[in-house]
C-alpha cells in the first residue's frame, strides 16, 4: 500500500494506464503519436481526451500503425519537439525497425510500454517478451512494479532521455499493472513540470537559421564510430539515471535506483526479478524471513543500461540465486535476464559465482502465485546447503509439459 510521502501530494486511485496517462498530462509533450493496442490503448485514449478537452496543448497524431507512430515521433523529435508514444507487444514489434533509428539518431523519445506476450498464438496478457526483444535497440528500459512506479518512472524518463539524448521506454506488466486499480500518490502539475523542465534540443530540423541534414548514409568509414558512441551513451546513462533519481527523491521523497534490494542484507538465497512479480515475491520473502530463512530479492528497475558491476557486487555473497525471466529466448543458452546477470557475475567477481538457476514463468499472463515463488526459494535453500544441484538449463514454472 502506497503511503503519502510528498507534502503536497494527492492520494488517488489509478490503474497503471491511468497513472501513465496522468504523468503524460503533466509532462505535456509537444507531440504524441500513437496507435491503439491492448493493453496499452487506454493510455493514449485518456491522453487524447486531454487533447480534445484542451487540457493539454500537445498535438495528438492518430497514426495508422505503430510503425508510423514511431516514425512520426522520430520526425517530431528531430524537428525539435518533445515527443512521446505508447504501445505494447505487436505494436512494439512493428516499431522494431524504427526503434533502432530513434536511438541511432539520438532522439530522446519517451514511450509508455505495456508488456504483453508476442503472437503466435495471439494473446493479450502480460509477459516481457516484447521489450526483451528490444533490449539491444539502444533504448533505455525502465520497468515498474506498480502504478506508483509507472507514474514516477514516466516523470523521470523524460529527464533521463533528454540528458542522455537517448530514447527511453517505461513499462508496466500488461493487465496486472495496466488494468489494476491501485493507490497512487500524484504530485501537483506545477511541481512535475518544474522537475521535468523545458526541452532544449541541441539541433532541430525546424530551426531555419541552422538547417541540417539528419539520417545520412554512413558506410564503412563512419557507421561504426556512431554506433560506438551510442553504446557509450548507454554506458554513461547509468549515472544520469541515478542523478535524476537522487533529485527525484529530494523533490518528491520516493527513492529509486537501478534496482531495488529487498532484504538483501545477509541474504543467503535470492531471486532476481523484473516487474509486478516483485510484489508477490516480497510477501513470500517476509514469510520466509519470519521462519529464519535468509531470503532476499533484487528487483530490476533499469534493464538497459544493465547495472552489471553493481549487481555483481550485491550478489557476491549470496550462496544461491534464481533468475526469474518473464520471457524465453528459445534455445539461447538461457533467458535474457539470466544471461546478463551471469555475465555480470562472471566479469566482475573474478569467476567467483553463486550457484545459479534460471526460471521462465508467466508467459502469456500465466499465473505466478506465492507458492510458485516459495518453491523456487525451497530449491535455492537446498542448493545453498549442498543438498541439491542447480539445473543447467531453463526451468519452467507453472507449466503443463
Amino acid at each position: 500500500m502506497i503511503k503519502p510521502i510528498y507534502s503536497k501530494g494527492k492520494i488517488v486511485a489509478k490503474t497503471g494506464n491511468e497513472a501513465m496517462a496522468e504523468a503524460m498530462r503533466q509532462i505535456e509533450p509537444d507531440v504524441v503519436a500513437a496507435y491503439p493496442i491492448t493493453p496499452a490503448t487506454e493510455i493514449v485514449q485518456i491522453f487524447s481526451q486531454f487533447v480534445s478537452d484542451g487540457i493539454v496543448k500537445s498535438e495528438y497524431v492518430a497514426v495508422e500503425s505503430e510503425h508510423s507512430a514511431m516514425s512520426a515521433a522520430i520526425g517530431a523529435s528531430a524537428a525539435g519537439a518533445r515527443a512521446m508514444t505508447g504501445t505494447a507487444a505487436q505494436g512494439l514489434a512493428l516499431m522494431w525497425e524504427m526503434l533502432y533509428i530513434a536511438s541511432g539518431l539520438r532522439l530522446p523519445i519517451v514511450m509508455a510500454e505495456v508488456n504483453r506476450a508476442l503472437s503466435a498464438p495471439i494473446n493479450i496478457h502480460g509477459d516481457q517478451s516484447d521489450t526483451m526483444g528490444a533490449r539491444d535497440s539502444g533504448w533505455i528500459q525502465i520497468y515498474s512494479e506498480n502504478s506508483q512506479e509507472a507514474y514516477d518512472n514516466m516523470i523521470q524518463a523524460v529527464r533521463i532521455a533528454e540528458k542522455c539524448m537517448l530514447p527511453a521506454m517505461v513499462t508496466t506488466d500488461g493487465f496486472i499493472i495496466s488494468h489494476c486499480m491501485e493507490v497512487v500518490e500524484t504530485y501537483p502539475d506545477k511541481d512535475v513540470k518544474k522537475f521535468v523542465g523545458q526541452y532544449k534540443p541541441q539541433r532541430a530540423l525546424l530551426n531555419t537559421k541552422k538547417p541540417y541534414t539528419l539520417g545520412s548514409i554512413e558506410l564503412q568509414d563512419y557507421y561504426f564510430e556512431h554506433r560506438w558512441q551510442l553504446a557509450e551513451a548507454m554506458n554513461k546513462a547509468q549515472d544520469v539515471v541515478l542523478d535524476v533519481a537522487k533529485d527525484f527523491a529530494k523533490t518528491f521523497g520516493r527513492k529509486y535506483g537501478m534496482y531495488e534490494k529487498y532484504k538483501m542484507d545477509g541474504a543467503e538465497i535470492a531471486i532476481v526479478v523484473i516487474g509486478s512479480t516483485a510484489g508477490t515475491a516480497k510477501v513470500v520473502i517476509d514469510e520466509l524471513r519470519k521462519k529464519g530463512i535468509k531470503a532476499g530479492m533484487i528487483k530490476i528497475r533499469v534493464f538497459r543500461p544493465f547495472p552489471a558491476a553493481m549487481i555483481a557486487k550485491d550478489l557476491a555473497k549470496v550462496k544461491a540465486v534464481a533468475i526469474m525471466d518473464r520471457a524465453d529466448s528459445c534455445a539461447g543458452t538461457f533467458a535474457p535476464l539470466y544471461t546478463d546477470v551471469a555475465a555480470a557475475l562472471f566479469a566482475h567477481n573474478e569467476g567467483k559465482m553463486p550457484k545459479m538457476e534460471n526460471y521462465v514463468y508467466g508467459l502469456g499472463g500465466r499465473e505466478i502465485a506465492p507458492e510458485h515463488i516459495t518453491a523456487v526459494y525451497d530449491k535455492l535453500a537446498k542448493i545453498a546447503k549442498g543438498k541439491a544441484k542447480p539445473s543447467n538449463k531453463v526451468e519452467y514454472i507453472n507449466l503443463r509439459k
Binding site: 498535438e59 497524431v61 516514425s71 524537428a79 515527443a83 539528419l214 539520417g215
Partner: protein
C-alpha cells in the same frame, strides 16, 4: 505559370557534386522543386532510395539551405507527419513564428508499394505537406526491381523478360487516382522534361493549406536503358503518347494541362528504351502486349477527358 526570370533570382538550394547518375531526372526535379519553393524555408524528408543516398553521404550534404531528414524507406509521409505536428505544436506555444513548407519525397517503391499505408494515413489526417513521388517505375537504387509502378512489358531484375515471360505481366496501378480518392485538395501528374508545368504545380501545391500530392514521372537512364541526354525528351514523349498525361485535380476538379495535338503511338515511347527491347522481336505475344499498352493508354485518356468534363 512559373516565371523563368523570377526563378533565376532564387538562390541554388541543391549543391552540385551529389552522386546521382549522369542524366538522372531526380536531380533535375529536385532542383526545380526547391526553385519553386522560392524564399520560404522548407523541411524535406525522403524515403530511402536514390535521391536520399546520393544527396546525403555523411559527412556531406547537398541540401545547402534546408533541413533534410531521412529515417527509413516506407515512412517519408509518416515522418513528415511528426515534423508537421511538431511545427503546429511549437507554433501554438509561440516557439516558432515563421512559415515553413514541408516536402516529403518518395520513389515509386516508397510510394506505390512499401510506403502506401504511411502515405495514405498522412493524407487522410490532413497534414500540411507536399508529397512528391519521383516515379522512375522500378526500384532503381537496389538495381531495377519491379514495383507496382512498373508498366506492363518492362523487363526488371525481379520480373525479367525470359523464354516464357515477357517481363512484367500486369499494368501498373494508378497511384494518382488513388490519391484523388483521398479527397485531398490537390493532386497532380507531372513529368521531368516540362519544367514550367512542374514548377507551377509545386508552387500551387505549396500555396495550399493541406495535404497535396504530385506524381512526377522521372526517366532513369540506368533502369530504362536510355541515353542520359534523352531524359527530358523522353519525359515529354511520355506526355505526347498519353502514356503519362499531365493533369491536376484541384478540390475534385480535373484539368488536363496538356493535350497532344497529334496523338503519337505508344511505340514511339517504348522503342527507344532497352527495358522494352524484347517486345519488338518476332514473337506475336509481344505484339499483343504492346497492343494492350496502347489500349489501356487510350482508355485512360478517354476517361480523363470525361472526368475533365469533355472539354
Amino acid at each position: 505559370m512559373a516565371n523563368l526570370k523570377e526563378l533565376s533570382k532564387v538562390p541554388e538550394r541543391l549543391a552540385g557534386g551529389h552522386r546521382l547518375c549522369i542524366g538522372c531526372g531526380a536531380g533535375t526535379l529536385t532542383r526545380q522543386t526547391l526553385l519553386a519553393a522560392g524564399n520560404t524555408p522548407v523541411v524535406v524528408t525522403c524515403a530511402t532510395g536514390c535521391l536520399e543516398v546520393s544527396t546525403s553521404v555523411y559527412p556531406y550534404s547537398s541540401w545547402k539551405k534546408d533541413s533534410f531528414f531521412h529515417s527509413a524507406f516506407e515512412n517519408s509521409a509518416a515522418t513528415m507527419s511528426g515534423i508537421e505536428a511538431a511545427y503546429v505544436a511549437l507554433k501554438k506555444t509561440g516557439k516558432i513564428k515563421e512559415k515553413i513548407n514541408f516536402i516529403a519525397f518518395g520513389g515509386d517503391g516508397g510510394t506505390y508499394d512499401i510506403g502506401l499505408q504511411s502515405l495514405s494515413g498522412a493524407m487522410e489526417r490532413g497534414h500540411r505537406m507536399l508529397y512528391i513521388c519521383y516515379n522512375n517505375e522500378a526500384y532503381m537504387n537496389t538495381g531495377i526491381q519491379r514495383s507496382a509502378a512498373t508498366p506492363r512489358g518492362a523487363t526488371t531484375t525481379t520480373e525479367p523478360a525470359g523464354k516464357v515471360k515477357p517481363g512484367k505481366e500486369q499494368h501498373r496501378k494508378d497511384m494518382t487516382e488513388i490519391m484523388v480518392a483521398h479527397n485531398i485538395p490537390y493532386v497532380a501528374q507531372a513529368v521531368v522534361g516540362d519544367w514550367n508545368d512542374y514548377v507551377t504545380k509545386v508552387q500551387k501545391a505549396l500555396s495550399i493549406d493541406g495535404p497535396t500530392f504530385i506524381n512526377i514521372m522521372q526517366p532513369c537512364p540506368l533502369g530504362w536503358g536510355t541515353k542520359p541526354e534523352d531524359t527530358l525528351a523522353l519525359g515529354r514523349l511520355a506526355v505526347d503518347t498519353n502514356i503519362w498525361p499531365l493533369y491536376e485535380v484541384e478540390n475534385g476538379v480535373y484539368k488536363i494541362n496538356k493535350k497532344p495535338k497529334e496523338k503519337k503511338s505508344v511505340v514511339e515511347f517504348l522503342k527507344p528504351q532497352a527495358r522494352f527491347k524484347h517486345l519488338f522481336n518476332s514473337n506475336p505475344k509481344n505484339a499483343e502486349i504492346i497492343e494492350s499498352v496502347q489500349k489501356i493508354t487510350d482508355a485512360k485518356w478517354e476517361l480523363l477527358l470525361k472526368r475533365e468534363g469533355g472539354k
